[in-house]
Symmetry: C2
Subunit: 630 residues, 2 copies
């Protein structure tokens, strides 16, 4: 291994997370930042021949040049560096720089970034320049173009929502005063405006390209922001996208992200943040003024055929890829190093079924809330705490994160609840929306009903039936799944009366995270087979007994599928076995579920053995009288 | 979080791997070892108030005491420390020590360690003391007790096979000369003797106990040694153990390891190495002299009802737990820190379906072979390189390891092949035995047959049938699985003629890594249902058509199972659909398999569309003549 020294501009948490794979791969690092023990420097001894990491600002031309003289490749963990000096360093042949200095410079100005993408035919959320001293007429023109509210943003030096202000109305406030606020909000930087995006969901894709031009992207994730700071991230993306399924939105998100990154020069990892829009929202106004204080994240999962539009791109590892450390075959950090060092890119596949990333954000100068979140995380299986080693806590500062992996979406969302609950700035409604129980107790109480009998928002099994008259036959399946605590949904879906609904249901099922579909139907029972034709999931068919032919018609209709499309058929009206089969399917890949099945089998055995004892005790004549009559 | 400083005696690779979770959890470390940049010190800046980590031997009383004055808890990453000083430090109240100094001291002497375990009823491989100046009569007594060959081992300062010598015979060599060799081999330390263990497999379990006494153990792994050094480790353990299945051997291995650790004081992680023996081997001699140069690792997976016996225990993180970093919900290193700091223990569950760990061992002073192995690993999906940052390479020195995760045992064993092939000291036969292809081409050529038509040693699907007359019906299932490259096995297993075999097969299937069983049977077709009664795996039943009743008898016998035991029934003689159903079951948890299924569905669609075109082109009259006659 030619041991190329990598110089990193910036020694914060992203540098810290780069330092770990660098150590694993034996890559010497020089980290430029002010102070001897920034987060990254805490975990990386300077390489042989250096007594310490360079101590200076990552914006300082002198320090950058000196770093370049001591390194083989420079890279950044923050884009707010002096890109001109980087270009000079590269031009002078001092050192390679990845990604390209021009890319870093372009991305520093969000307005130019968007112009660049738009000019190359990449879908971006509508935006416009704001003149240096805008008049009321200017604002009115912007309103006509982008609608209200609009987001006024700083073109440069913006991150984690810093420099962003919403402009809600032109009538009710003094525009001059508003402008003062906006300009102050943007720290005196130039401004631009963006249309308010009434998105269904925020989505991010990490794309990595190595020096040789090999490109890989990670599966899209759902990102949830609070106060313009990323707070929670879910992988994989689950969205019931208008008849196309997750894989379709995921495919399109990756395609859009890759095509955007293809317009940018240089090697490394890029974080691409996107909006998933309900159809036909842009261009134009959103019909109702959204609540500006809360990002919408509606349960149950949104349905959108969804246009995707890029919000912004980061030319470096990104917060929306932190889950890749535990959840993917190669992390974004290792892949960034591989990319800039001409190594082959690592696999971007998930190595776990589901994961979530929770940011630990300072709420004040007190470290206590962070410590409380860590303590909660230590009690949660599958949770890994990542503290960044920052000495001082501040409101809005990223102090660390927790990654939680699990065997299903539902399990991950259950696991994160106590950790989120330990964060004092999160409202119960925010937490409930992310970790929705099958049906909120409050709603049930208001409706005067129980909380059972409602679909779980992150189901592993779908129970569908051709008609509500099949419900009594299918109900035992639901009860068995309840017993095993397997999240499921139950609905009516008729092959003959709602064919479009059936096709949509089948196509979306895998993408929504289902692992198995139980379909019950009677007579010319087409539902199981037709659903099986539109999904790759295993479909369990339950023949429902009709008024004639004793269910044999249903059995034959379900079991005698043509070669190529299998249906797993169970006995006539035996929904219990359908559910147990679905659980065996889940259990074949989930050890704890397999253990539950083993316990269930022991219970069945004991139940019969108990009857054996009983019969020996009272004799079969009495047994027949007492027990069988019941 | 009360930030307790942990002092670690030893700064090698285990310390390095402890340093990472320590940084994540914000735990300050002080690392005692000679030199400023030992592997652990490279990735952990000394805590606030210290300009450097203590530079000195981890055996030095002065340095240990000084470390104790600066830390809240002392722990070890190597057991060859001065345990008496640790006891003194604890007695003086300078600092807590975990695990207990007495435990470390006991474990330092392998003979006393075994005596301790034996006295407490823990199964250990037979052993005996060797007198200081043994005579021929002493050796003859040892031969009577333990048999030949026997392993003569150093009681102390032994690791990675150092200090071990085999004694093969008492007749053919001069005992005095042999003794010289043995004593030299043991570095002048006291000796003891162990019976040669003709084990079926070596197994290891990591057990962790925290200060409060909470105990967890990781699932057992298979360890493969070469030249007495751990070389490869597989998780989870796969062994067809005499009618009991993996979960049974795993359960007994964990139980034995936990009961052994229960006899040792103190908190922390313990590595427990065991032999899985064929039944009734001990006590007594092995029937044939084993090949002393090679650890046996016979493919296909060994069958053993398997007594388990402890070989040795390490009171610290252990090489056989390195896979836990990527493969488990909490790594052995994080759990060690949690244990000694009174935190709740993290989940020890696997977060991936399968994993392997490959040690990178120096073969000479050249670093090149290590670099070659890394280069190979960078090309393998799911592989993570862990270099230890050692400046000098030596023969037999652990320079790093690679962890490989995957969606199945078969995939992991495929993935590790190119990495093992890049290691110059590994013979092709060693690699072939670990990564066995379905049938070695050489064997097939010798037999004059093809390599197809043989069972894969790490199958995901089992195809069984009641009689060889069912083979023509089941063959299409095998062909479909071949097409999808799903590893499977195929055999005959009759419910009525080989009931014991059937029960064993069903009970062992899940533990051997199968995800689904396809069972074909005709007439009073009991095989699918009876197999389903003895496993938690999904069982797909294929009704075979007999000479009467057109297969309806088989269909009813298979599909009409009682409530509680489901069989996924497909159409009469439709083995194609049985295989596709098995693949859908695997695909429900394995995205790449789901993608293959989607491609298959597209192919089916295109095949029909092609016929549509053909019929339009030539007309249906010609079509009927030309095409349907074929």
């Amino acid at each position: 291994m030619p041991q190329q020294t990598v110089g990193i501009l910036g020694g914060g948490q992203l540098g810290r997370m780069l330092a770990h794979p660098a150590a694993l791969m034996g890559i010497p690092l020089l980290i430029l930042d002010s102070g001897p023990d920034t987060p990254a420097k805490q975990v990386s001894l300077p390489p042989h021949g250096h007594t310490q990491h360079p101590d200076g600002a990552f914006t300082s031309p002198e320090h950058i040049k000196e770093l370049a003289r001591n390194a083989d490749v420079l890279t950044v963990e923050i884009e707010h560096v002096d890109a001109d000096v980087l270009a000079q360093v590269e031009a002078d042949g001092l050192c390679a720089v990845q990604p390209a200095p021009g890319t870093i410079k372009l991305i520093q100005d969000k307005y130019l970034q968007k112009r660049h993408l738009e000019a190359r035919g990449i879908a971006v959320a509508p935006f416009a320049a704001v003149p240096e001293r805008p008049t009321l007429a200017d604002w009115q023109a912007l309103e006509r173009e982008l609608g209200l509210p609009l987001m006024v943003k700083s073109r440069t030096m913006a991150y984690d929502g810093k420099g962003n202000s919403p402009l809600k109305t032109l009538e009710e406030v003094d525009i001059g005063q508003t402008m003062d606020t906006l300009v102050r909000g943007a720290g005196g930087n130039k401004l631009y405006a963006e249309a308010w995006a009434p998105f269904v969901m925020e989505v991010a894709v990490m794309v990595v390209r190595n020096v040789q031009g090999q490109v890989k992207s990670y599966d899209a994730v759902e990102t949830i922001h609070k106060d313009s700071i990323l707070r929670v991230c879910f992988a994989p993306l689950r969205v019931a996208a208008g008849g196309k399924g997750m894989s379709e939105v995921n495919r399109r998100a990756k395609e859009l992200a890759e095509s955007a990154v293809a317009t940018l020069d240089g090697a490394g990892i890029f974080g691409v943040e996107m909006f998933l829009m309900p159809d036909g929202t842009f261009p134009g106004l959103s019909s109702k003024t959204p609540d500006l204080t809360l990002t919408p994240f509606p349960p149950p999962p949104p349905t959108a055929s969804g246009s995707l539009m890029i919000n912004e791109i980061a030319p470096r590892p990104h917060n929306s890829g932190h889950h890749t450390i535990e959840a993917c075959e190669t992390s974004q950090f290792e892949n960034h190093l591989r990319a800039i060092l001409s190594l082959p890119l690592g696999s971007t596949s998930l190595r776990v079924p589901a994961a979530a990333m929770l940011n630990m954000i300072g709420t004040s100068e007190s470290m206590q809330p962070i410590e409380d979140a860590c303590t909660a995380a230590y009690g949660v299986p599958g949770a890994t705490v990542h503290l960044y080693g920052k000495k001082e806590c501040r409101k809005g500062r990223k102090m660390g994160h927790v990654t939680v992996t699990g065997s299903s979406d539902a399990q991950v969302r259950e696991r994160i609840r106590p950790i989120l609950a330990a964060m004092p700035d999160l409202a119960a409604s925010f937490i409930d929306a992310l970790c929705t129980p099958p049906r909120p107790a409050a709603t049930a109480a208001a409706a005067g009903t129980t909380t059972s009998g409602f679909s779980h928002p992150q189901p592993l099994v779908g129970i569908i039936m051709g008609s509500d008259s099949d419900l009594p036959t299918l109900l035992p399946a639901a009860r068995i799944l309840d017993t095993f605590k397997i999240p499921y949904e139950l609905t009516i879906c008729s092959a003959h009366r709602t064919p479009a609904r059936m096709v949509t249901y089948a196509k979306e099922a895998a993408g929504r995270g289902l692992r198995c579909i139980i379909a019950g139907a009677g007579g010319a029972a087409h539902l199981p087979g037709m659903v099986a034709s539109e999904t790759t999931l295993p479909v369990v068919g339950v023949p429902v007994k009709g008024s004639v032919l004793d269910g044999v018609d249903s059995l034959y209709s379900i079991v005698q599928m043509p070669r190529g499309i299998p249906v797993a058929t169970v006995g006539i009206a035996n929904a219990t076995n359908a559910a147990l089969l679905a659980i065996r399917i889940i259990g074949s890949a989930t050890p704890e579920t397999a253990a539950d099945l083993a316990a269930y089998a022991r219970d069945l055995e004991n139940e019969v053995l108990h009857k054996v004892d009983k019969m020996e005790e009272i004799g079969w004549e009495a047994y027949a009288k007492q027990v069988l009559k019941k």
